[in-house]
Symmetry: C2
Subunit: 316 residues, 2 copies
């Protein structure tokens, strides 16, 4: 009998995933629906309720003591609301109250998706055992989260760790966030692909112009493709070095599709870190690929509940 | 009878200041020596001992329960050692042990000077009452510190808050720290003056080419002088916005000589913040001048002891 389960929700612009997660990070039950991202608020919520309904209908459900919610941002953990950029129907949507209502009144904890991924990596991934860590997702966007002094640092509204919107080019391009010269504008997958194309890289016969295709070209020796990854690595390194100078971290964990490029990203990233992280306490930073993979959101939502202050989570 | 005093030391490249500070932040006794910054390690330490000697000789001394040390960085609070850039004789110098020996074995807490200033502003300055704050000193260098979740965040080695060495220009100038495009290279007083001179600004009859002289010209309507402050403000705003995105802060407090320029700095800084801090949780950041002035180092060293975890500090 499992009596130390957490119900986890991972809410993104493409899919809504749910799971029952045990105290060791094993996923005992899964449910999933596509996100009706262009529909009205109630239609999106019905998809969440359908996922939760599969969980609550399980004979395992009585073992669940809380719900952890990781959501695309921005979120506001202080009010329990979310306003995901890619789900326009939800603006200040009271997700925590609605999830509690659909989950028999269990307590619920909300964090942004970058914070959730960080909680997962700190719990059972590459940041395990580190008291001070930055974890990042480099994918369609660039997000992240922090562990400081041994604890997750979600910040007052659950949005801390937005490394993708730190400025590394003072006079750089406008970013869709409204800022300028953001890391994401240089290092995200679409921007890696855009820069390669702008500089003359051409896709193979399959016409694939994704960052993964650019990575494959770079691995095969294409200098334009490699240069685009090097520029991304430079932006990531400058931001990671800045984070280390600001809060002191010992490790930077990088996941997401772009990290799947492996050496094409990690070799120039480690090299660039030498160039930007030169203070005594920022040198010798460990850079490691993430380990929790596509389940990071679910595992992290569960981990965020377990690490939250307050009485709600057993087994901490 | 005062029985809740902290002995405070503020160790910089120019002077070594000491004080006995009460629980309300009143300075009851002061001592000071010039820093023999170019001398050997023991000569520098003798100046510290002379300052401490004046404190221990006071009839107030029995009321002191701990020593707070704020030092020019880098420091290493984890080993109790300091390696101030401007005091080459001290490299890995065991300052905490030596101070304890000179202070009758009282416990001692070490933090970097940016962290100390932050502790002072959070205790009795402009950041008082804020749970999440960035405090900065913009002067010959640019330093700072963080308050997160209501507590000072010194980081494992006491160096957290080094905002001056966050990169805001990916392809920018080399910084003496070894990095590139650092905030300090754009926003420090000497760099404000250098840029104004490079762009054709000329000092008055007194030949004063300090940042304060540039500020006076800017206030009098000189466009080149104003533009140099605007560029500094832009770099500071980008860095502050990045800090807000990364850890969530509600206020940025700015002290140091360059902040003395007042509107010449603060008006373009608030304007530039609109340009860089566009996320829902980074908008509406308060920007305020520091209040603790030249005593920030001493008050902050005392405050850092009072806010430190562990059994050493009474009156917390």
């Amino acid at each position: 009998m499992h009596n130390d389960l957490i119900a986890a929700l991972d809410i993104g612009g493409t899919k809504i995933a749910g799971a029952l997660v045990d105290a060791d990070g094993a996923i005992l039950l899964r449910a999933q629906r596509p996100t009706p991202a262009r529909e009205d608020a109630e239609t999106v919520m019905r998809a969440v309720e359908a996922v939760l309904g599969e969980l609550t209908a399980s004979p395992l459900w009585p073992g669940a003591s809380a719900v952890g919610i990781g959501s695309a941002g921005p979120v506001d953990a202080s009010t329990g609301t979310v306003s995901p950029v890619n789900v326009p129907g939800w603006r200040g949507f009271p997700l925590v109250d609605r999830v509690r209502a659909a989950a028999a009144g269990l307590p619920a904890e909300l964090v942004g998706d970058g914070v959730a991924m960080t909680a997962a990596e700190h719990w059972i991934g590459a940041a395990r055992g580190y008291g001070d860590a930055l974890c990042m997702v480099v994918s369609t966007g660039v997000g992240g989260g922090l562990v400081l002094g041994g604890r997750l640092h979600p910040g007052p509204t659950g949005n801390a760790g937005h490394i993708g919107h730190m400025t590394v080019e003072l006079d750089g391009d406008r970013c869709p966030c409204g800022g300028r010269g953001c890391v994401e504008r240089i290092a995200s997958g679409p921007n890696i692909a855009r820069r390669a194309l702008d500089n003359g890289w051409r896709p193979g016969p399959d016409g694939d112009t994704s960052a993964a295709a650019v990575a494959a070209s770079a691995a095969a020796g294409d200098p334009v493709a490699a240069a685009s990854f090097e520029r991304a690595a430079q932006a990531l390194a400058a931001a990671i070095a800045g984070v280390a100078a600001l809060v002191e971290i010992r490790i930077a964990v990088i996941g997401g599709g772009v990290a799947g490029a492996g050496d094409v990203l990690f070799i120039p990233l480690r090299k660039a870190l030498h160039d930007y992280a030169a203070l005594s306490f920022t040198q010798n930073l460990v850079v490691a690929p993430a380990r929790t993979g596509t389940d990071a959101g679910l595992l992290g939502a569960a981990a965020a509940v377990r690490s939250a202050p307050g009485p709600r989570a057993p087994g901490r």
